[in-house]
């Protein structure tokens, strides 16, 4: 029995002997492709946009501003997809959160900050319900969240009677339209959320559990990981961030509109998947979601600017 001795823990990034560029590239393809796509798109639109209106600081700021609310939701969705679940309620949750905060402000004259906080808490509550139903009762997340999406959208339409409410809490207005120097605060909000999301996913125990449960639920269970609690926590995060996105977005627009997030659910999921996060769990990262968001934002903006 020849036991090999090892002197110090060492990590070889590339087990196996031959290390050639082509193989390394193939291994990294999932991570690199979205980045090159983004690069090509930026170059393409820079050349072909009408009067070169694409590659200007103002336009780039525009792109980021428009992607900001999506970015906040996408951070939550990244966790959900990493876990191998799906959340189709985020569009509805964001709508309901925005509408409820404005509605409280207008009809109950509640203090603005409280309205905004309650708006976000609506997201937390819906996320909690989603999580409990998925983890404890065992209803597939697809069905649970699809239903909750309908419920929340319905609630928003009911409260507004289908018309926009033209008043938003002051906090939301500041976050949505204010600037810090030349940079819109809404972009900073998105960056802070994404950074925290990235940090938690990559460097905390909770983040590791999300990856591992997503990689194999059965293995996680047999390793003594409480995958139910992880599921609930992730759904709460997703709901909370959708709520935050909803409230901040009312601030950006100056009104709470019951159909503003009509397409947001699938757009968000598209951004996350575009970045390279797997729909089946265990693979991906918040950082790659950032790239996905930019690809999506650049494409949407650029196509409006070409001849």
């Amino acid at each position: 029995m020849a036991t090999q001795k090892i002197t110090a823990p060492k990590l070889t990034k590339n087990p196996g002997q031959g290390m050639n560029l082509a193989r390394m590239f193939r291994r990294q393809a999932r991570a690199l492709t979205p980045f090159f796509t983004l690069l090509i798109l930026v170059i393409f639109f820079s050349i072909f946009s009408q009067g070169h209106r694409f590659a200007t600081p103002e336009n780039f700021r525009n792109i980021l501003q428009q992607a900001a609310a999506l970015a906040v939701m996408a951070t939550g969705i990244t966790y959900v997809l990493l876990l191998g679940e799906i959340d189709l309620s985020i569009g509805g949750v964001a709508t309901a959160s925005g509408v409820i905060s404005s509605w409280l402000l207008v009809s109950l004259n509640a203090p603005g900050w409280l309205c905004a906080v309650i708006g976000v808490l609506v997201g937390v509550l819906v996320g909690l319900i989603n999580g409990l139903v998925i983890a404890k009762i065992g209803v597939p997340s697809f069905m649970t969240t699809l239903a909750m999406g309908t419920v929340t959208t319905g609630l928003a339409v009911f409260l507004t009677k289908g018309r926009p409410i033209f008043d938003v809490p002051e906090v939301a207005a500041t976050l949505g339209t204010g600037t810090l120097g030349p940079i819109p605060i809404i972009i900073l909000v998105a960056i802070v959320v994404m950074f925290l999301g990235w940090l938690v996913a990559r460097y905390t125990r909770f983040g590791r559990y999300v990856y591992m449960v997503g990689g194999s639920r059965e293995a996680a269970q047999l390793s003594g990981v409480n995958s139910k609690n992880i599921t609930i926590a992730v759904m709460v995060i997703s709901g909370m961030l959708a709520g935050l996105a909803g409230v901040v977005n009312t601030g950006r627009l100056g009104s709470a509109n019951p159909d503003i997030f009509k397409d947001a659910t699938l757009d968000t999921i598209a951004c996350v998947v575009l970045g390279g996060t797997s729909l089946f769990g265990g693979v991906g990262s918040v950082a790659s979601t950032g790239i996905g968001l930019l690809v999506f934002g650049v494409l949407k903006n650029g196509l409006n600017l070409v001849y």
Binding site: L11, R205, S223
Partner: protein, 485 residues
């Protein structure tokens, strides 16, 4: 050697990372022959190898298993690769069903041809229209073999085909293999069950450390001889019974009282003391896995008491069980590991909270994992290697390793040596013995009488969920075990 060979390997070497899995191996297979292969796991066809493979007199190279199948070599893996939700006929025609002129599946022809084919191979009791999940593992295995033959293979490589089969099923498989022999197919029979290898093979090749030790006629050798050949110069340790008085300390750690789970368990009663190894013996379906899963909180018992350190406990879920010091190594290794992830992540997952409380730190994880890798002898000892690339024995060590970062009070081992070669088996059991010295209360669930007779202080026998007996080691014989179960 004028007789025409179906398959010949000349000086084939296969490197797997830093280790040499095959080192200058010669091997040949005649038509109508069963050639047993014993000694080391990890045989198989890989594209990157040195040496010559000569198939029916012609030198060939395989780029993939699919390519090998196209050239008439079928591989039957340990874990079956049939699709349970399809019918028998669909599995036989998998990927290439006959179609009518308009391009839709010709069901009538498909069923007819599948039926004819199975009858030809002596499988008369199989209905080709039935979903495969209705058949036992043994039958599914034969159907998979039939399917491989149907796609044109005349060389069948079987990797541990008997590991999940009962005694009678093994006999049925052997009858089936004899039909294949009569049809001049060549069979390579890879197994660590030496009785089975001796029972069916014409010739046997022994590998040790990747090198060929010998090829012998099966009739000329017996089991002790083969065991010695596999283990090399070491004493032949065919898992002898330790005639050592139990070091039972009489401090009960785990007490199971009248445990019931409808349909599966009917009144289980036994106690495991500190430093004791209790064996639970039973055939497939006797309730071993159910019992283990009740104790680890995977499923809940309907009735009965579980006491841990004299305290009545209700095990809510697996994470609760873990916190109370219960560790479980399941039978299905594939499902227990995060196959796509590194060894170190697989080892640290169970006790991550103790290794790095809130923030994961790779360096801390690697240090923790490396010490386990060293003490359990995981090979290759590279914490960043992906678990899927390890052999069965080493994967099992990784599963053990994740529970040993913090020694458990109770260790549940379900079929811990399944599909392992003699050497790996012994290594794993040495680890278990080592834990006994540290006072761990261990339960080994197994279908192998020899294993329990060699290592368990007491053996509890299960039969269809009923506890048949609870015997001290010295009273246990193979006959008693088999007669009760």
């Amino acid at each position: 050697m004028n007789e025409e060979m179906l398959l010949e390997l000349r000086g084939v070497s296969k490197r797997f990372g830093a280790t040499l899995a095959l080192d200058q191996v010669d091997f040949d297979l005649r038509p109508g022959e069963v050639h047993g292969l014993v000694g080391e796991n990890g045989a198989g066809y890989h594209s990157e190898h040195e040496g010559d493979i000569i198939l029916r007199g012609k030198k060939v190279r395989f780029s993939s298993t699919r390519d090998a199948l196209a050239q008439g070599i079928g591989m039957i893996y340990q874990e079956l690769s049939v699709i349970k939700t399809l019918t028998v006929a669909e599995n036989i025609f998998l990927g290439d069903p006959p179609v009518t002129k308009v391009g839709i599946v010709n069901w009538a022809r498909m069923n007819r041809e599948a039926d004819e084919h199975l009858k030809q191979l002596g499988l008369h009791n199989v209905n080709v229209r039935t979903e495969l999940s209705n058949y036992t593992v043994a039958t599914r295995q034969m159907i998979e073999i039939a399917s491989v033959i149907f796609s044109g293979a005349d060389i069948i490589i079987m990797d541990e085909p008997t590991s999940a089969l009962s005694h009678n099923e093994v006999e049925r498989l052997f009858d089936f293999i004899r039909v294949l022999k009569s049809q001049k197919k060549g069979v390579v029979f890879i197994s660590h069950f030496l009785d089975d290898v001796l029972g069916i093979s014409d010739r046997i090749t022994v590998l040790r450390n990747g090198k060929k030790v010998m090829t012998v006629n099966a009739k000329e050798v017996n089991k002790p001889y083969l065991t010695t050949a596999i283990l090399g110069k070491q004493d032949s340790v065919e898992l002898v019974r330790r005639v050592q008085p139990t070091k039972k300390t009489d401090t009960p750690v785990l007490e199971i009282r009248n445990l019931h789970r409808s349909r599966f368990l009917h009144g289980i009663n036994f106690t495991v003391s500190k430093g004791e190894i209790v064996g639970v013996f039973g055939s497939m379906g006797a309730g071993k896995t159910q019992l283990a899963e009740c104790l680890f909180g995977v499923v809940r018992a309907d009735e009965g008491e579980i006491r841990l350190d004299n305290k009545l406990v209700k095990i809510r879920n697996t994470s609760h069980a873990k916190q109370m010091g219960i560790a479980y190594v399941p039978a299905n290794r594939q499902a227990t590991l995060f196959q796509g992830n590194e060894i170190y992540k697989n080892i640290t997952i169970s006790h991550l909270g103790n290794i790095c409380p809130n923030f994961v730190k790779q360096t801390l994880e690697v240090v923790a994992a490396t010490s386990q890798i060293k003490s359990l002898g995981v090979r290759p000892p590279d914490p960043s290697r992906v678990v899927a690339s390890l052999s069965g024995g080493n994967q099992q060590k990784v599963v053990l390793a994740k529970w040993l970062t913090i020694p458990p009070k109770v260790l549940l081992l379900n079929d811990p040596t399944r599909g392992m070669d003699v050497g790996a088996k012994q290594e794993v059991m040495e680890i278990v013995e080592g834990l006994r010295e540290k006072g761990v209360a261990t339960i080994i669930f197994s279908t192998e009488p020899e294993l329990l007779m060699a290592y368990a202080d007491r053996v509890v026998i299960l039969n269809r969920g009923h506890q048949m007996a609870d015997l001290p080691n010295q009273d246990v014989t193979k006959d008693i075990l088999l007669s009760y179960s």
